[in-house]
């Protein structure tokens, strides 16, 4: 059983290590000042944000010695760093892949690749893997900042792991979205514009929509505490849960809120009426499931599009 698993793992490693696209992409990407500058800016921005949060907290509280303050500082630093990194990853990931296929067409190298023995699966997965490898490098570069937040306290190790899973899954999903648009539209500029509009709407549009809905309903006299019928409340909670779970930003925030309120990272509850509760999975779990599904279907569709262009 274990031997089989090791053999399978080795064959996957072998498949990836023999993919010329990965080697070429990484070689091209790591060459020159561009990457060095990008990593420096990425880590610099996160470090400055963490430093600013710490300075602001110590300035406003003035109780540098209190354990509670240190813990709160840790949580603030962690939250700030995570949210900034999430936004950066969500915007960098598609930038790395929205030209993946279209640039080959624009550079007139696509036909050359098509006449080789390279399959569309190897081409697409090679492009995706190299983009992800680079994103992983960015995420690894930010580890010391997370370590600092962890040392300050207020953040548990599972929280950090979940935050990293959200980052990684977001990176994978948005990379796949970028490469899918690149293959579909065959033009880098168009693919980049569309992917950014989509991400901006998706990442910030949903939180703004939720906030807007709440602000709109309040003056109209809709009071959530006036106990509407249980079915209506159930539907509101359910749709809210689905919407929150589809966005990395809201999934992260409400998972953390759930953790602070319920002390659970898996199953959370909201009161419906009397003794009945609305039980739901912490939003990070459905987010991972949804993005896994999205990634699977988008990558399969990309491979098909590239394969069709080769017919």
């Amino acid at each position: 059983m274990i031997t089989q698993a090791v053999k399978r793992l080795y064959s996957v490693y072998h498949w990836f290590s023999r993919n010329p696209i990965i080697e070429k992409e990484l070689r091209s990407r790591m060459r020159g000042l561009r990457t060095f500058i990008l990593i420096t800016l990425f880590v610099g921005l996160i470090s400055i944000s963490a430093g600013a949060v710490l300075s602001l907290l110590s300035y406003t509280t003035g109780q540098a010695g209190s354990l509670a303050i240190w813990q709160r500082s840790g949580l603030f630093v962690f939250s700030t760093v995570f949210l900034i990194e999430l936004a950066l990853v969500c915007f960098i990931a598609p930038a790395l892949t929205s030209s993946a296929i279209s640039s080959e067409i624009e550079r007139q190298t696509f036909d050359l690749l098509r006449t080789t023995l390279l399959t569309s699966t190897r081409l697409v997965l090679g492009k995706m893997s190299s983009a992800l490898a680079f994103l992983m490098l960015l995420m690894l570069a930010s580890i010391p900042i997370y370590a600092m937040a962890y040392t300050l306290g207020g953040v548990t190790f599972p929280e950090i792991l979940i935050a990293w899973a959200l980052l990684l899954w977001s990176a994978v999903f948005y990379s796949t979205l970028g490469i899918w648009l690149s293959a579909l539209l065959r033009r880098t500029l168009l693919a980049t514009v569309i992917v950014y509009v989509f991400i901006a709407l998706f990442l910030f549009g949903i939180p703004i929509l939720i906030l807007g809905t709440l602000l709109l309903f309040e003056p109209l006299g809709f009071n959530f505490s006036s106990e509407p019928p249980i079915a209506v409340l159930y539907l509101i909670y359910l749709s809210g849960w689905v919407i929150l779970s589809s966005n990395p930003l809201t999934a992260a925030i409400f998972s953390e809120v759930g953790w602070l309120n319920n002390q659970s990272l898996i199953l959370l509850e909201l009161p419906l009426s009397g003794n009945s509760f609305f039980y739901y999975l912490s939003p990070w779990i459905p987010f991972l499931l949804l993005t896994s599904l999205g990634t699977f279907f988008l990558s399969r569709s990309t491979i098909r599009i590239v394969h069709r262009q080769d017919q």
Binding site: K24, R27, S28, G32, T109, L112, T116, L117
Partner: protein, 300 residues
Amino acid sequence: MQVQPGEIYGFIGPNGAGKTSTIRILCTLLAPTAGDAFVGGYSVTHQRREVRALIGYMPDFFGIYPDLTVYEYLAFFAGCYELSAKDKEASIPALLELVDLASYSDLAVEKLSRGMKQRLSLARTLIHNPQVLILDEPASGLDPRARVEIRELLRELASMGKTIFFTSHILSDVSEICTRIGIIDQGKLIASDTPAKLSQLLIQTRKIRIGLLNGADMAHQVLSNFPGVSSLTPIRDGAPPYEYEFELAGELEDVAALHRQLVEANVALISFREMENNLEEIYLRTTRNPALSTDVETPS
């Protein structure tokens, strides 16, 4: 149309005639609207992977990754053809040597001159040691020296037993190195044979040039009266030696009879030679007069 193993087959025709489309079909990049084509016995529509393993394709554009060095560029394509690390290490230096780029292996591809890029492209097409090379305008846009270099390379590759199928607008290159030539016009193959046979079949008059020291008027009179002589053109007629060119529709016996008549008319002949009909002439005639060329199509 058939191209035999070891041949250098030149494929010529006006712009838009269908040369690149033919090449793209042969390279499995374009599906034929009807029928099929075979490379090494493999169908380009049904056995594309086998065809791809057998051919080396060089398009009329470079298709370069500017960030890579010359060596890395070839190593990348070697990977695309699933060559082992050992084969890569053996073939890349040998290829760079063949295309005379060995001293540039660490140079970024974007820094190469146009001629060098063309030679690198040729090395790329050879990376997996294909049996058939399909080259679209390999000498296009090159200076005379680079053109000669590419021509020599093609000759060398043919001597190594490769089958070369290429298109070109430079007819002198085609006539110089091709064992057979195909002429395409408006999507139709209108002639396909060796340059000598094409010339024989397509041009039914002989072009003759004579030189004389005196007796220009007499020569003119003999030529005008000789049956089958046409297109009499003075090449040099101001002062001796005079030179005339004309076409003669006839056999070798007619050529000899004309020569005899000129001598008997006391024309001081200093030269009398039949000009070779070059590829340019064949090309112009066939593409100018499709009816003629269709009649003389020479399936091989």
